[in-house]
Symmetry: D3
Subunit: 234 residues, 6 copies
C-alpha cells in the first residue's frame, strides 16, 4: 500500500492559480460553497505570506521524512507540497535544507499536518510553511510512504494537482477541475464585498445591506430600551 | 430565551476607561483582587494592541453571526464587542467588513470566545481582536441570540457596560460600578511597582524588597553550598 | 522534600556555552543523538531570540512564585532560569520586575513550563522567555519549592549547570559534562550541512546527496508515470 | 476578596430538587431554554449516578483544598458541593476522606472543575463526583478562598442555593428561583417526548412527527435517487 | 452545495459485512494496509459493543441535527449512520429518540464526529455510539446539510455504502468495493495470529516468531549485562 | 545513542513491591513527599486494576514497537513494562499478543506514554494497561530504541528497577532504593488516615481533625450569616 510515486498529474492553468492567491483563503472558501478548508490548527510560521499552487501530495510515516525527499524530484515551478503523516506526529519533518531544495524547483511553500523546524532561517529566506507545530525534533529516513496518491491533510481530501491556497487565515484546497468556476465565483464575491465595503464605510449597517431586518422580526427578535424594561416584561 | 436586544445600558466614565487601558491587563487584574481575567486561550491576532472600552455583549449560536450585525447598531464610540457562542465553536465569526462597520461606530475592538478571520486586513487596518482561534470558515445568518444580556465569555461573567481591558497579556473585565475603585487601586499598585522597579534596577532582590526572608526561614527553607552537601546531610 | 536551595554548582566553560547559542536548537538536538529536547509546547514570547546559558533549576508550587525570587540570588552572569511547577499550572509566574532583577544579575533568559505575563514590556526590554502560556494571572508568595535540585521541565530532566539552548525552534538541554563533545559534533554537523546546502542550492536532490536511491529501491519504492498507470497495474 | 464564608442561603423546595434529579440533565437543559449547562469536559468518575441538590459553592486556590474543608461545615442534607479553582488546576482536590465527611452531612455529590482522586473507593462507597480529571496528586492546605459567593464553574455562573443536576450526560445548573418553572417545563417536555417515543417506536419518522418536511422543502432540500443522478443534474 | 439527499447506493454483501464485525477494528485496519482508521478521539459511549454496517453519510451544520432526521428515512437494516459536522462542534446531536427511530429501521449504530447525549438510556437499550464527546447540549433544527454525499469523518473519507467496523478500539472504514479482499486478508491475518498466539502462549518470543534477531543485529543492537557495563564501554 | 539493551538490573524486594500495590497510588505519592507521579493523562483501559512491579524501561521510536519485543526477553516475574516514545505518538504499540507473551513471563502490566489496542481482549484476559490513548493503529518493526536505560515517561524519570505502582488514580514511580522508606511512610500515613476516617465517620470535621481553625482565623477567614450580611459590610 505504500512506496508508490506518481510522477505526473494534471495541473490547473497557472494564471488561474495565481489569481486565486490574491483572493484570500476566506473568500475562496466561501466561493466554493464553504468547502475545502483545512483544519484551523494549521498556522503559518510567520505572518504575511499568501500563496497558491498545485498540490504535490506526500504521505509520510510518523517520524520519517524519506518521502519528502522523494517528492522533491517530481515537483515543478508553481507547486505546493502537501504533507500528511499516516498517524498523528508533530515531529519537525521539514527545515532549511529541504526548503532550499524546493525553492530551486520553484516550489512556493509547504502545508504539513505535522511539525516544522528552522523557523528563523525559513523566515529569513521567505519560504512559507503552514504547519501544526514548530518542533526542533527532526525525523529519520527509513520508511516508505506515497507521493501523489490521494490523501487527507488536516481533515480535507487532497489530490495531486488540486489547488492549495494559503494565507494568514489558513489553508483551503480547490479541486483542480473546479478552478475556473471557483475563481469566477470568488471574483464575483469580492466585487459584491467591495460594494458592501463602501456602504459599510459610509456607516450603513449589515442589517440593512443584507436585508436582515424582516427575517429577524419574523423570527421574533425583540428590542428593549433597558435591561429593566426586559425584566419588567419577561 | 433568545432574540432579545437591550439597546441602552450605563457606561463607566470615559476618562476612567481610557485610564485603565494604559495600565495593562496584569495590573488591573491584580488591582481588583485577582478577579475578572478571561481564560488565557484568548490571544490577540497581532501583537502590540492595548485597549479598554465598555462591553457590548453578544450571545451567538454556533456557526451563526446574525447577532453581531444586530449588535453593531447599539454600539457607541468607546465600546468593545464581547462575543460568546452558546456552545463551543471556533468558526470565523468576524472579519474585515464587520470591523469596518464597527470602526465607523467608534468601536475599539473585539473579544470573541470563538474564531476570527481576515487577519491580514484586520492587522493592516489596526482593528484589534482577541480570539480563541483564527479560522477562515465563516458563519451563516439565520439563528437568533441576544445582545446586552449578561453572558459568560471565556470563563468570566460579563455584563453590558462592564469595562473590558485587553493587551498582549490577555483580557480582563472590570464591573462597571467598580471602575473608579479599580483605577485607584491599579494606580497605587503601579506606583509601588515603579518604586520597586527602581530598587530591582539597582540590584536589590525581591527577597529583600518584599521582606520574604523571615517567612521563608520560618517555613523551613534550607541553603546548602553544593548538591553534595545536601546529599551528605539528607 | 521541598525548601532546599543549592547555592553552587559547576558550570560548563562559558566559551562553549556561547558557541552553542549560535548553532541552533535543531542542530544541537541532532548533534547529541536526538536527545534533550523539551516538549514543543514551549514557545518564545517574541520571535528572533537565540540564547544559551547554564541552567539554574527552580521547582515551584502551583500558583506560587516564591522560589523564583529565591533563585535570583544564586544566579550568575550567563545563567538561564529553568522553572517547572510541581503540578501542571499555566499561571503567569513571571513578569517585568523579575526580568529586571534577573537582567541585573546577567541572566540571559527564562524557560518555564507554565505561564508568563508582561509580554509587551519583556519584548521591549529584550528579555527572552520560552513558556507554555501567556497568562496575566499572576501568582502569590507562600509555598516553598527547591532551587538547583534536579527536575523535569517539559518532559526533559534538567540539572543545575546543564546547558540550555533556546531559539525560535524551541529549547534543548545539554548535560554539562557533554558540552565539549556536543559542540564538536554540532560543528561537524553544520559543516556537513554547509556542504550539503551548497549542493541543494545547485539543484542536487537529497535523494542523491544522501544516497537514498538504492535503499528506497530495495524497500520496494515504485514509480508510475500517472495515477492511471498505477491503477492499471494495481 | 478571599477568605469569605457565607453560612446560610436559601434553598429550593426539596421535593422540587428531588424531582429534577429524575428528569435527566439533557431534559432539564432543554427545559430551561438551553441554558445552564456546564462544559462537557466534566465527566462522572463512574457511570450510572444521577443526582440533584442545592449548590454549596467553593472557590479554591490552585493546589489548595483548604476551603473544601471549610465548606463541609455549612453543608446540609441534600446539598451538592460545587468547586472551582481560581486558575486552571487539575490537582486531585478531593478523595475518600472528604467524601466520608460529606456523606455524614448528607451531601449528595461533588462537581469540581479540577481533579479528583481515590476513584476506586469513591466508586465502592457510591459517592458520585463529576470532575475535569482524575489525578492522584493531592493538594495542600494553606491558602484561603471563598464559600458560597457566586462563582463560575466550567463556564457557568453558579450561586449558592442554585440547583445542580448531574448524570452521565453532564451537569446543569438551575437558578434557585426558577426551580418550579423549570420542573414544570421539564415534565411537559418529557410528556411530549413520551408521546413521541411511542410514535418513533411504531416507526414514524421525526420528519413527520416534528412536521419538518414543508420547511425542508422551502429551504431547498432536493432528493436524488442515486449519486449518478445528482452528478448528472449538478 | 448543501441540501442534497441521495436515496439509494450500493451496499456490500451482508454476509461479508457481518463477518467483518467479528474480526475487530485493529485486524481490519491492518488487513487493508493500515488505512481507513478514524481518529482515535472517537470513543464508544459504553464498552463491549462491536458492529459493522453500511455507511449512511450525513453532513450537518454546527449545532443542527436536521439532516440526521432526514437520513433516517433512507436507512435500511444493517446500516450504520456516519455523521460529520461542517465545522468542529461537540454539541449532543443524538439521543434516545433518534436511536429508537434508527433501531426501528434496523440501524446498528452511530459514528459521529461530534457529541452524543442520553448516554444512560442508550446504554440500557444497547444502541452503540462512537462519538467525540458526551454533551447534554442538544441541537436545533433549521439548517440543511447533505445525506449520502462523500464526506470526511474524523480524518477519513467515507462514502455511502462503505463498510464501517467499530469496537472498543475505535472505528475503521472499508471501501465498499474492497470488502471481499479485506475480509480475506483479515481472515488470513487472524489465522496467522492464531498460530502465533499459540506460540506466544508456549513462551516463545516475538523476536523468534517474527525472525527479528538478524535484522536487529544488522541494525546494531547491542546487549550489555548491566548499566555499569554499558557506561564502562560507552 | 539507541540500540542499547541492558539485560540485568537490581530489583527491590518483592514483598515490599507487593505491599506497595495494596496501598494505592495517591497514598504512595504522598508518602514519598508528593513526588514521582506520572502525568494524569495516563488512564487504565479498564477500571479496578491495582498493581506494582519493577520497571523494565523501553524507549521506542514513533510508530515502531520493535523494542517492546526486545524487552520481553529481559522481563522477569513481577516486572512492569514502562514504555515511552522518543517523540509524541499515540499509535497502538501494544495488543493482545504482546500481552500474552508478557503474561507468560509473569509481567504484571504495562504503562505506556502512547496508545494501546485490543482493549476488549486485554480486558477479558485481565492484563492491565495504563496508556495515553486507545488506538487501533498499530506500529511497524524497523527502528531501534533502548531497553533499561533511564527515560522520562509521562513527565517522570524512570530507571530500570524502580517500582511502578498503578491503579484507577494513575501511576506513580518509587526509586528502587527508597522502597523500604516509602513503604514505611505510606503505612504510617494509612494508619493516620484510618484513625481520621473513623473520626470523619463520626461526623467530626477536617477543620478540627487537622486543627485548621486557628490558622484560618490568623489568615483572615471571615464568616457571615448571609450574603446580604456580607454585602452590607463589604
Amino acid at each position: 500500500m505504500t512506496g508508490i510515486v506518481i510522477r505526473e498529474f494534471e495541473r490547473a492553468p497557472q494564471d488561474e492559480i495565481d489569481a486565486l492567491a490574491g483572493l484570500g483563503v476566506a473568500t475562496v472558501h466561501e466561493a466554493q460553497g464553504r468547502t475545502g478548508l483545512l483544519k484551523p490548527y494549521l498556522r503559518p510560521i510567520y505572518p504575511g505570506a499568501a500563496i497558491a499552487g498545485s498540490a504535490v501530495t506526500v504521505s509520510v510515516a510518523p517520524g520519517n521524512n524519506t518521502m519528502i525527499h522523494v517528492a522533491v524530484e517530481v515537483c515543478r515551478p508553481g507547486d505546493v507540497l502537501v504533507v500528511a503523516p499516516t498517524s498523528e506526529c508533530r515531529d519537525g519533518y521539514f527545515g532549511e535544507l529541504l526548503a532550499t531544495s524546493l525553492r530551486q524547483r520553484g516550489v512556493r511553500g509547504l502545508v504539513i499536518d505535522a511539525g516544522c523546524r528552522d523557523v528563523a532561517p525559513l523566515t529569513e529566506m521567505g519560504f512559507p510553511v503552514w504547519s501544526r507545530a514548530v518542533n526542533a525534533q527532526g525525523t529519520v529516513k527509513d520508511t516508505l510512504g506515497d507521493v501523489n496518491l490521494p490523501l487527507v491533510c488536516a481533515g480535507q481530501p487532497v489530490n495531486a494537482g488540486d489547488i492549495v491556497v494559503a494565507d494568514d487565515d489558513g489553508v483551503v484546497v480547490v479541486p483542480r477541475a473546479r478552478s475556473s468556476a471557483v475563481l469566477a465565483s470568488a471574483r464575483a464575491r469580492l466585487a459584491r464585498e467591495e460594494a458592501n465595503r463602501a456602504r459599510f464605510q459610509r456607516g450603513e449597517l449589515g442589517l440593512d445591506i443584507y436585508g436582515m431586518r424582516p427575517r429577524l422580526e419574523a423570527q421574533g427578535l425583540v428590542y428593549y430600551e433597558t435591561l429593566s424594561d426586559y425584566h419588567g416584561k419577561a
